[in-house]
Amino acid sequence: MTITARPPAPPLPQPPAPPRRRRARKLDHSSTRTLISAADLNRGSGRVVYYVVLTAVMVVFTLAFFFPLYWMVTGAVKEPQELAQTPPTFVPESFTVDAYVDAWNELQLPRFLFNTAFYAAGAWLFQLTFGVGIAYALSKLRPMFGNVILAMILGSLMLPATALLVPAYLTVTDVPLIGVNLLNTPWALWLPAVANAFNIYVLKRFFDQIPTDLLDSASLDGAGRLRTLWHIVLPLSRPVLGVVSIFIVIAMWKDFLWPLLVLQEPDSQTISVALSRLNSTARISIDQMLAALVLASLPMLAVFLAFQRSIISGLSAGGIKG
């Protein structure tokens, strides 16, 4: 699959109410039988074929998905002359962390990593605050013209990002009505990030499943809308808030084209834009570049290792339901 400009498909989380149990049982049942039956796999020849295929898949997957990372990490510890030699060595014969140290110090990686983390944190804060606001209002307060607004928000899902690229850039250079230039400021990433119809839709779908009775009884007890949101809706929505948060941070970390346009001043750039610029303008040795690539990947890999279960099961639990 080569979706490049879109977030992963909808992780429609389970509702907070009873239906969960029913679905879980159905899944268990169906996972007992797939294309090929367990009986076939346990029979003599089927068993042999199964283990041959399993071994082949393990080898191919490890080579295909881990070996490139191994190459990147070990390439950067080789001495430059070993790295340049033809044919390349598969196991490093020399070992030095100079490239990592140089990349860290000379390429100003800490600054770009900090920038990226800062932008991601801000995008997370603004997207959750404003996104929850819209989703809560549309789902539970049901104002006049709510349906029109929902349609306009979902309509923007259909817009290819590219259709907006040039005019959105011009908007950032001179924001209508207030006339400020947001280029090279964090706001150029934070505010457009809020206009993410996908995450708002996921939040609204989840809020829709929270029983209205629960909110009504809170309001009978004298709780205002904001208190209800804070003390009832949000605590119930922890799983979906977690999934949406992960997606916001991943999207910010991976985004390239938009930050490339609006962060032209080197000191303001994200790690991705900075690496692209350094690669095409500065004369950087291959070992330093490989080290920089490793260091740029580490934060997201750490997130993946920490939240692996929720990321993978979030995708697998929902996906697009047929």
């Binding site: 699959m1 080569t2 490049t4 796999l41 898949v57 990147m72 044919p87 817009l159 040039v166 993946f304």
Partner: protein
């Protein structure tokens, strides 16, 4: 002051409250989604120079586009990329998902492995693969020559450049689709397979007549999403082969080139974006109608 009933006043207060909750978000949508859409269309009929007011030029921008040889090159390349991406990027994750769904061991590890590249920043993937593709001492040519196979020029030859870009992109993005297919596969009721097996259907027939029809909806949606996404490919050609390489220049790279590098002409770039938008919208409409008729 008109006297309002308590009911009306409550309703107004409720609405005001709801809009207060939405205000911040709606301003962002208005500024960065709805307004740019309108402005993009207007811009495509204008010439902008940032000194004087924009000048209306009618269809001039579109005329310039159609006279630019790169325009057709970019469309041809983009369609080629999309086609190749369908061949690899669409078929591979489905096949992988069907295969993984049959395996009873190391499930977690295999899912982790296939999803791993999704967590790398795309720029890292692209720069890393650039070293792999190096015709001199890159990894791929080393392996090929080690196996006594002919070496390739990869991104540097007109014949293989586009294919090389598709391979990177498939490697980097197939994890998402694979996990979605796996989830859909797990929702297929096992009774269907059992019934088919009792009727004497072979594995291939079960795949053809049970799995694929059951997955139809997911497969159709994913194909549309993938086509829309690959038509907008940017970072692979931008970083690996540059903005002036006629072998790989795509529609999005050309938009970037018009607006930010060679031409610095926002009207021209907007016209190109509008065309891409129209093409994608028309394609989606036709696709959805066709997909519904297949039923």
């Amino acid at each position: 002051m008109v006297a309002l009933t308590a009911r009306t006043r409550r309703r107004l207060a409720d609405n005001a409250m709801a809009y207060a909750f939405m205000a911040g978000g709606l301003v962002c949508f208005a500024l960065f989604s709805w307004y740019p859409l309108v402005r993009g269309v207007i811009l495509s009929f204008q010439q902008v120079n940032f000194v004087t007011d924009p000048i209306w030029v009618g269809f001039d921008n579109y005329r310039v586009l159609f006279n630019d040889p790169l325009f057709f090159t970019a469309w041809r390349n983009t369609v080629l990329y999309t086609g190749l991406a369908l061949l690899f990027g669409y078929a591979v994750p489905f096949a992988v998902a069907v295969l993984l769904n049959e395996l009873r061991h190391f499930k977690g590890y295999l899912r982790f492995a296939v999803y791993l590249p999704i967590m790398l920043p795309p720029i890292v993937v692209v720069l890393l693969w650039q070293y792999f593709y190096d015709p001199g001492n890159g990894l791929f040519n080393t392996v090929l020559s080690g196996l006594h196979l002919p070496e390739s020029q990869w991104t540097q030859s007109p014949r293989t450049a586009m294919l090389s870009l598709v391979l990177v992109s498939t490697w980097a993005n197939m994890g998402g689709a694979t996990l979605i297919y796996l989830a859909a596969l797990q929702n297929i009721p096992g009774e269907l397979y059992e019934a088919a097996e009792i009727e004497g259907a072979s594995v291939w027939q079960r795949l053809r007549h049970v799995t694929i029809p059951q997955m139809r909806f997911v497969l159709l949606v994913m194909m549309l999403l993938q086509i829309i996404a690959t038509m907008q490919v940017f970072i692979e050609p931008f970083q690996m082969t540059g903005t002036s390489n006629p072998d790989t220049i795509t529609v999005m790279v050309l938009v970037y080139r018009y607006a930010f590098t060679v031409n610095q002409d926002f009207g021209l770039a907007a016209a190109m974006s509008v065309l891409l938008f129209v093409v994608l919208a028309a394609f989606s409409a036709i696709y959805l109608r066709f997909a519904r008729n297949v039923d």
